[in-house]
Amino acid sequence: MPVTPRPGDPTITPALVAEHGITPFEYERLLAMLGREPTFTELGIVSALWSEHCSYKHSRPLLRTLPTEAPWVLQGPGENAGVIAVGDGLAVAFKIESHNHPSAVEPYQGAATGVGGILRDVFTMGARPIALLDSLRFGDLESPRVRYLFSGVVKGIGDYGNCVGIPTVAGEVVFDPAYEGNPLVNAMCVGLLKEEELIRAVAQGVGNPIIAVGARTGRDGIHGASFASEDLSEENEAKRPRVQVGDPFTEKLLLEASLELIRSGHIVAIQDMGAAGLTSSSAEMAARGDVGVVIDTTKVPAREEGMTPYELLLSESQERMLVVAKKGHEDDVAAILQKWDLTAAVIGEVIAEPVYRVTEGDRVVAEFPGIRLVTDCPTYEPEARESDAIRAQRETDVAAIAELPEESDPVWTLTRLLSSPTIASKRWVHRQYDTMVRTSTVIGPGGDAAVVRLRGTDKAVALKVDCNGRYCHLDPYEGAKQAVAEAARNVACAGGRPKAITNNLNFGNPKRPEVYFQLREAVRGMGEACRALQTPVTGGNVSLYNENPNGAIYPTPVIGMVGLVEAIAHVTPAHFRRAGDAIVLLGENTAELGGSEYLQRVHGLAAGAPPRVDLDAERRLIDALLDAIAGGHVASAHDCSDGGLAVALAECAVGDEERWLGADVDLSAWDALPRRALLFGEAQGRVVVSTAAPDAVVATAARLAYAARVVGAVAADAHGVPVTAAGGRFTAALAALADADGGAIPRLMERAASASATAGESRPHHTTP
């Protein structure tokens, strides 16, 4: 049957094509594929599937260079989530995804639906979600708009995850003017499954019915995928209707129903109707199975009368799934959904003919040959050129920057750093999250990595999201390497062997050579680090066009790392535990100051070369740390990152808010280094360990040719933290450190509470397209 335009559909004009984000070149390819002019419905389908968000057209050639394989990887990129084996017949599914653009215009719903989407990506693999993590970036908290975005995003994440009953166990929150107009909201979910219950979203079996499951389809979120594929501007406030609305209660029912469906044996495939909704879920499942499908839009359960095929196909209404069931099992599927008060409607079937066909009753409104709808999207490798201005920033001689008069007292500098919102305790954030539901959170937010035990085994997973955007801005190659290395180090500090990553590449507009340079270099650095640390990439998300008329964000390739803790006894906290334990520093201090939080916070500068990462050394550090932990020698382990060694020591002292411990520290072995570099520089590969067996820790490190030195001892809390360094001795009182660390964000937010009481209360507007 020929494809016929619907009466009343707009005429296809160059302006309409451009409005759909399709370039003249891409339109030529579309014409060549179809051999005719597309219908309005087809144009909508292509605009979604060929959007950056769905097609990865500017990143795919780069992503192909990343390592994706290891003996423990059961599912690499290309599925709803990656999966690794963890032994005992168990596997872990995990994935990170961004909701940056929606959160910029509607923080509460944008963040909430980000959590909802990533949960569905994980449970559609057959995994029960066991943990959520979030990587968040905002502008300067002094700005009322930023406080509104921050509190709305946090409330959105909390309200959704808390209601579904999945603990939010870790995250990172960074504040920097670079994210002023473009906040980043990346959510990661981790799920647990039996290896044999792994299910893939591959449509199979001619005659098998395609079933829409869960919420009805409304007019919300239409063109969300294309919205996420363009720069933000003033006009984006008008695109608020493109933001979806979340319903965590339905999500919880859908989660239970989906897992029951998968285990019932009545279905062959299941996929979230996420970005680009029904269009992408059906097209991608068909492409993976290399089969044809036909969908009748009149059968799709709709929230309102009169929705067109175009709207039904492109809606991003939340909490919906597409299922391919076994023929003849339709009633069994419906019965399971009915138990959970959810609907199921057969809307199409798998067909032998190699076409992607959409009908509206008897009329064919869209038809594409084979899987070309997915595979014909062009990819681009545009010009890459480093920005001269950024190179100049990197080449700044930061050692020559004069100290402020206040810096003669290092405690002043330390307090200033601890109260930097990026470094300060995020308790204000995570006490709004249910961090403990499912009663398996061994280490929750605030540790180096979260640790979640795997019930029924003696094992646990160690989880971390990490990235330093300032490093990546100054040097995307080194910065991305560092992000992988630090995430791995954090996982090892908690007692886990780093196993694999999921990545979220947040960048600006790739059509600008300096942005594409950043993307290319970051992927190169990430790949190198992942190969060296044997942590392949199992999937992830690319979010481009994170820029507004004032410029692009810092390139921010967020790493979501999963590690395996082989025995619960190996779980190691970050903070000191016993007075009298020795403090051992693993790694070497250096004179590096570039890219540091110190320069940003004290001098207002993003400058200098970020600290160098020696991947071979990082691998030896991880081995040494894990050997010492397995030997039972390590009481605590905390990595040195933002704010350097002094901040790390302070965090070790006051990190357990119910019990502080002091420390007596002697750094005179490094008297040759400038004091500020020693205390606040961010040299890589360093971990502060407390131990009752310092000789054993030092010997373990020596076996792996890794530097280790006793630098002091844990003391009672009244002792404070006296530090001998650079020929002097200064003492930080714990109450002052804890106040700077714990009080910074609450003070900023309480001061603001009256000014922006609306966060989280706003409701999205409904509209017609």
Binding site: K155, V164, G165, P248, D434, M436, V442
Partner: protein, 230 residues
């Protein structure tokens, strides 16, 4: 002994209650589906935490009409034990099994953290295993946990020794930071007149293993087992 754990649509602490009872106590347990009317022979009913029906109306206001609740009310009327935790406490109040109501936290924010509670009475089948005045560490996780009742009701609860737990600081005293949600008279948990229904906002089922934060809630479950078994 058999525990029956009710699963409402949106319950999410049913699983934790199950593991507390089965893994830590070694007792048996069954999930009771909200559409059923049969308690499957359970000796003890747990109304678990979560967001029944999404808490889209007032918390617990819809769940109280679930078919299973008739059986739960009859069970309570017989004097058999009901442990209502968090959203379960809200449901029990809505169902009239307990007096008062749970309002939005004074901070207007959801709060999840370990808190200290003082055991106010050991004259109950839930707290016989504690010492009176003992301070225990049990987490809270709620957005609407501010206990509210009129003065007469509060006076009566106190006069009848029906306040079971109060929020306190680590030292057992009360100050401006020891009450996490603005509950009147620092009330964290109460009994019904028959002393067989306990409603509490803190989560004892999350405090049965030091590995995940605290073991202080275990004595509550052990008290129930000891009493029912006796």
């Amino acid at each position: 002994m058999k525990f029956g754990i009710v699963t409402f649509p949106g319950s999410n602490c049913d699983y934790d209650a199950y593991h507390a009872v089965v893994d830590q106590l070694g007792e048996t347990a069954a999930y009771l589906w909200h559409k059923d009317r049969d308690l499957q022979g359970a000796d003890v009913v747990i109304l678990p935490g979560g967001f029944s029906y999404g808490d889209y109306l007032r918390c617990g206001a819809i769940a109280r009409f679930s078919p299973i609740m008739d059986a739960v009310a009859a069970h309570a009327a017989r004097g058999a034990p009901v442990l209502a935790i968090c959203n379960g406490f809200q449901i029990a109040c809505e169902a009239g099994l307990l007096p008062g109501a749970l309002l939005r936290n004074a901070s207007l924010k959801y709060v999840c953290e370990q808190r200290h509670l003082r055991v106010e009475t050991t004259d109950s089948r839930f707290t016989a295993g504690y010492e009176k005045g003992q301070v225990v560490r049990i987490p809270i996780a709620h957005g609407e946990g501010r206990y509210h009742a009129d003065d007469a009701t509060l006076d009566r609860l106190e006069a009848e020794d029906r306040v079971v737990f109060r929020y306190v600081g680590a030292d057992g005293g009360s100050d401006d930071r020891s009450n996490p949600n603005g509950s009147l008279r620092d009330v964290a948990g109460i009994l019904n007149e028959g002393r067989n229904v306990l409603g509490m906002m803190p989560h004892p089922e999350r405090a049965v293993e030091p590995l995940v934060g605290s073991g202080d809630g275990l004595a509550l479950f052990e008290s129930i087992v000891a009493r029912v078994a006796a």
